[in-house]
Every structure is written in C-alpha cells, then in structure tokens.
C-alpha cells in the first residue's frame, strides 16, 4: 500500500497504540488504588502482622495507608512516629516523628504523649525543652501510662532542671507505675527504701519491691534483693540470697558475677570452690567489670589464689584494665606495666 491509504492506516495504528497505553494506565491505576477500599483498621492490623514477621518495609507502608485512610488513627500515628524516629522500614526522620507523635498526642493518645515528652526531653527532632517534655509526660502519666509515671518519678527524684526535688512525690509516681508491674519503677522504689534520702529506711518495703522487679527479670533488682535479704535479716535465708545472686550473674550482670566469684573464691555462703570463683571472675571481666579485671591482674602478679605467679598473664589483665578505661586514680595498671616492661627490657 502506498499513498494516503497507508497514511490513514498508520495514523489508525498509532492512535490504537495510544489508546491501548491509556487503557493499561487505567488498569494500573485501579490496581494501585485497591488499598483505598479497605479500612484504616484493616491496614493497621496488617501492619501489626508485618511487624511480628519482621517485614519492616511492609509494616511501614501499612502504617502509611492506615493514617492516609484515617488521619485521626492515633495508634497508627504513634506507630508511624516510632517508625520515623527509629528508622523502621524507612529512613530515620526525627522531625517527621515529632509531627506524628504530636498529631496523636493532641488527640489524647497516652503512648504518643509519652513519646512526645521523651523527644522534647532528648531534643530529638525539636530543640531540647525539658519543661515541654515534662508537660507531655505528665499528661500521659495522668492517663496511667507507666513509662511516663516512671519518668515523672525520675524528674521529682532528680530535681534541678526537671523541677523541684520532691522525694515523696517521686515515690508516689514510682508507686503508681510499680503497681502496674513496671519493673524499673519497682527497682527505683526498692532503692529509695533501701538507701533513703528523706524517707524512712525500710528494708522490708525495699525487699518487697526488689522482689517484684526481680521476678520480672530485672537484674539489678535480683542483685540488690540478694543483698537486702542478707543484710537486713529480713528473712534469714542465705540460700535464697544466693539463688538471686546466681540469677543476676547468669543474666549477665557483671557486678553480680564478680560478687558471686568472691563467694566461691572465699567460700562465703557456699562451699569454697576456686575454679568456680575464677570462672565467674572471668565472666565479670568479659563484661568489663573493673574490679574483676583488677582482681585477676593482682592474683597473677602476686601468685595469690593461683598455683603460682604468672607475669605474662598479669600483664595481659593489667593491659586490659588500661584498655577498658579501668585504671584507678593511682594509675596502678599503667605503672605496673611500665615497671615490668622496663625490667623485661633490662633482662
């Protein structure tokens, strides 16, 4: 075919191709918008499922859809704020996080109020503003948010920038959170009754709160509980004290590991077992417990508690003390190392 006829055919083919393209575009558009047909709640449920499967990008996208469908979905807004704050499934964007927290917080969402309080307190995505932070935390705390109550307790206990020091108020906030099973608050209450500054020392009360936190797996509380039991004679029950010390040590708490090492090493409360003692010292040293590192260094340097002195091993531990930033005020480790290196050179 030549001439106008083929021209017409060409134009027709071109326009058909354009229409096909336009139709394909419409199909793509419809497919891409199907999510609009579902409810915000459905997308929020999907976000939770994705999170539980650690599908983080999917989690983030589901949250975006949740708040796109319902701009007042406070759970979704708060979670989206967290996603931006921590960079979950998206790039970290603390400024965006503040906006989402604020949108949910202003609609009375306790968790978001708590989060907004924290970002003001920390200056994440906003200029640091402790007063503003505390104001939001108080709103959340008044709604019964245990994390916020804990923070309020900490502010009252610290005083200064965060408000007037007021221990009884601190106890009041901690108690509210503690009664909801907030382990860190239980531990704080234990501390307040254990080492009082302004309240009456009450070991029974202290042990009671430590025990609650200890049962929730709070390692510091497990450790403190073991000492409260022994110290106060609250219950003359050394095996129980040892059991809690074991628990804290097994949980990886360096101080507890070192103390347990002492017990075995000297046979204090348990049959003396130097091998066990050494094993716990080593674990504590791995956790960079400075006292444990020193103990090991001195034991090898002086041949004390080990079969014989071993300067090479002592040097190793003194070196670790220096490297771990553990050296004491006298520069004991550095001095020892210097002295023995000189001697080595002299020999």
């Amino acid at each position: 075919m030549k001439g106008p006829e083929s021209q017409t055919a060409l134009v027709l083919a071109q326009s058909t191709a354009l229409v096909r393209k336009a139709v394909a575009k419409l199909a793509k558009r419809g497919l891409g918008e199907l999510w609009l047909l579902e409810s915000a709640e459905e997308w929020f449920e999907r976000a939770k499922t994705a999170k539980s499967k650690n599908q983080l990008i999917e989690f983030f996208e589901c949250l975006q859809r949740t708040v796109a469908l319902d701009p007042e979905h406070t759970d979704g807004l708060d979670q989206l704020g967290m996603a931006y704050h921590d960079g979950i499934g998206t790039l970290r964007d603390q400024v965006a996080a503040v906006e989402y927290f604020r949108r949910a917080a202003e609609r009375g969402h306790a968790e978001a109020q708590f989060h907004l309080g924290l970002v003001f307190e920390l200056g994440h995505g906003v200029p640091r503003d402790l007063a503003e932070g505390i104001a939001w935390e108080r709103k959340a705390a008044d709604q019964g948010h245990s994390g916020a109550q804990y923070r309020m307790g900490a502010h009252s206990k610290a005083g200064g920038e965060g408000g007037i020091f007021n221990l009884s108020q601190s106890v009041e906030w901690y108690r509210k959170a503690a009664e909801q099973g907030h382990a860190a608050s239980q531990w704080e209450l234990g501390q307040i009754y254990h080492h009082p500054k302004g309240v009456v020392k009450n070991l029974t009360e202290a042990a009671g709160w430590y025990r609650k936190a200890a049962n929730l797996g709070h390692r510091d509380a497990q450790f403190s509980l073991s000492y409260t039991i022994e110290e106060g004679g609250v219950i003359q029950d050394r095996p129980e004290a040892m059991a809690w010390l074991h628990k804290a040590a097994e949980g990886g708490y360096g101080v507890a590991q070192r103390c347990l090492g002492d017990r075995y090493f000297w046979g204090d409360g348990v049959p003396r077992d130097r091998t066990q003692g050494m094993a716990w010292y080593l674990k504590a040293a791995e956790q960079r417990d400075c006292s444990a590192i020193y103990k090991l260094a001195r034991m090898y340097a002086e041949g004390h508690g080990v079969p014989h002195d071993d300067l090479a091993k002592a040097a190793l531990w003194y070196r670790k003390a220096v490297d771990s930033g553990c050296d004491n005020d006298y520069g004991e480790a550095a001095r020892w190392l210097e002295q023995h290196t000189k001697m080595g050179e002299g020999a």
């Binding site: 354009l18 229409v19 096909r20 393209k21 336009a22 139709v23 394909a24 575009k25 419409l26 199909a27 793509k28 558009r29 419809g30 497919l31 918008e33 199907l34 609009l36 047909l37």
Partner: protein
C-alpha cells in the same frame, strides 16, 4: 493374538506411523491450548470492557474535574508552574477519555457455550498454521486461524461452522510414496507444533502478569466472597469525583468574586 499379520512394516514405516500418532496427539493438545489462550484473551477483553465502563469512566470524570480545577487555578495564578500543571492534568484527562470511549470499552461479557468451544477446538485443530507443510499452505492457514479467533471472540458459531465446511483437505492429506520425504515432513510438523505449544504457554503466563489480569483475579476472588470489587472501586472514585467537582465550583466562585 495378531497371528494374521500379512504385511510386515519396514522400520521406516513403523517410525512414520509412530510419528504420525504423536502428531495427532500434539494436534489435539495444541487445539486445547489454543482454546485456553483464546478464552483467556476473550475473558480479559470482556473484563477490560466492563472495567472501563464501570470504573474507567469515573476516573475519566475525576480527571476532567481535576483538569478543570488546574486550569482555573492557572488562570487565576498566571504562573508558568500552574500552567504546566494544568497542561499535564488536561493531557491525563484526555487520555482517560480516549481509553474509556473507544472500542475497548464496548467489549461485552464473554460467555462461550460448550458448542462454541467445541467448534473452536475443531477448527483450530484443522486449520492451525503450524500443521502447514509449505509456505503457501501456511499463509492460507494463518489467515483462516485469524478468522477462527475473531469468530470465537465474537461468539459467532456460524462463522466457525462456515470455516470448517469450507476448509479443503490440506495437501498433506495426499501422502507421498516417498517414505523418507514423508518422515521429514512429519518431523518438521512436530517441531512446529511443539514450538507453538511452548509459545502459548509463555503467552498465557505473560497475560496473567498484566495489571488488568491482576485486577480481574482480585475481582474474581472478591466475587467468591460475595463482594463486587468494581462496584466498590466505583463508589470510592465517585466520592472523589464529588469532592473534585465541589472544589471546581468553589474555585470558579472565587474567580467570579462571589
């Protein structure tokens, strides 16, 4: 017991017979595949028509209101950016219009009768170009196969019957005396058939990749739950059309200083 066998086949004859059997099997298989492909295409075209009529037109309307709004704003703002946005919105509206007011939107639901399917299968088997033995034969069969496909898509049983009745026995019905030549021809036909079957398989796989096919799959799934997905989509877009229209009315009131 075949004790009365009088003629013993030569190895070449045996081979040819075996290949012819295979050829018959493949022809039958190919006809099934062609039927599947033609049905899929027809169903997709029908769904496309339905989609364009029920959902596409609303997108076109939405785009029209959005284009009007962008044009009003460009008129009032007078900035090059606003003008560019208005042009873009207008192009999109025209595209959506062309998609929803063309032939594709007129394709009606496809509900083939079992007779239609049977006729198609028979015709496809008889006229299929890949059973051709030479170029002239192939050209003729390709033209016929197009007619067969078109008739099937339109649900035109009579056309299929006419094609079947008018189809001459192909030249390969007359068998040559040269067994070697016959064998070569059959082998070539076998290859053609296998190639075509493989091509259909990949074409079917490709079809389901298209957005429209995915939409159809979602709509079919929704239907099993008693939902009408296209109606839900239409309702959603209708809501947005209403908002877009109000926006235009408000903007045009602003423009006239009301």
């Amino acid at each position: 017991m075949k004790t009365n066998l009088v003629h013993r086949l030569t190895p070449e004859e045996e081979e040819l017979a075996a290949k012819r059997e295979e050829l018959a099997r493949l022809e039958s298989q190919l006809a099934d595949q062609e039927l599947l492909l033609a049905s899929l295409k027809a169903e997709l075209a029908a769904f496309e028509g339905l989609y364009l009529r029920r959902v596409g037109v609303l997108y076109a309307e939405l785009d029209e209101w959005n284009a009007l709004f962008a044009e009003l704003r460009a008129e009032q703002a007078g900035t090059p950016e606003a003008k560019a946005e208005a042009d873009e919105a207008r192009t999109q509206a025209e595209e959506a219009y062309s998609a929803t007011h063309g032939e594709a939107a007129n394709v009606q639901p496809f509900t083939p009768s079992s007779d239609l399917k049977r006729l198609y299968r028979e015709a496809a088997k008889r006229v299929h170009p890949d059973t051709a033995t030479d170029e002239a034969d192939r050209a003729r069969r390709e033209r016929l196969m197009k007619e067969v496909n078109a008739a099937y898509a339109k649900g035109d049983e009579d056309a299929l019957r006419r094609i079947l009745a008018g189809f001459d026995a192909s030249p390969d019905a007359v068998q040559g005396l040269d067994i070697g030549a016959d064998l070569i021809r059959v082998l070539r036909q076998l290859k053609q058939l296998r190639d075509r079957i493989a091509a259909i398989e990949s074409e079917i796989a490709g079809l389901s990749e298209a957005d429209l096919a995915k939409l159809k799959a979602k709509a079919d799934l929704a239907a099993t739950e008693g939902r009408d997905l296209l109606a839900e989509m239409a309702a959603n877009i209708q809501g947005r059309v209403n908002v877009a229209r109000q926006r235009v009315e408000k903007k045009s009131d602003e423009g006239t200083g009301k």
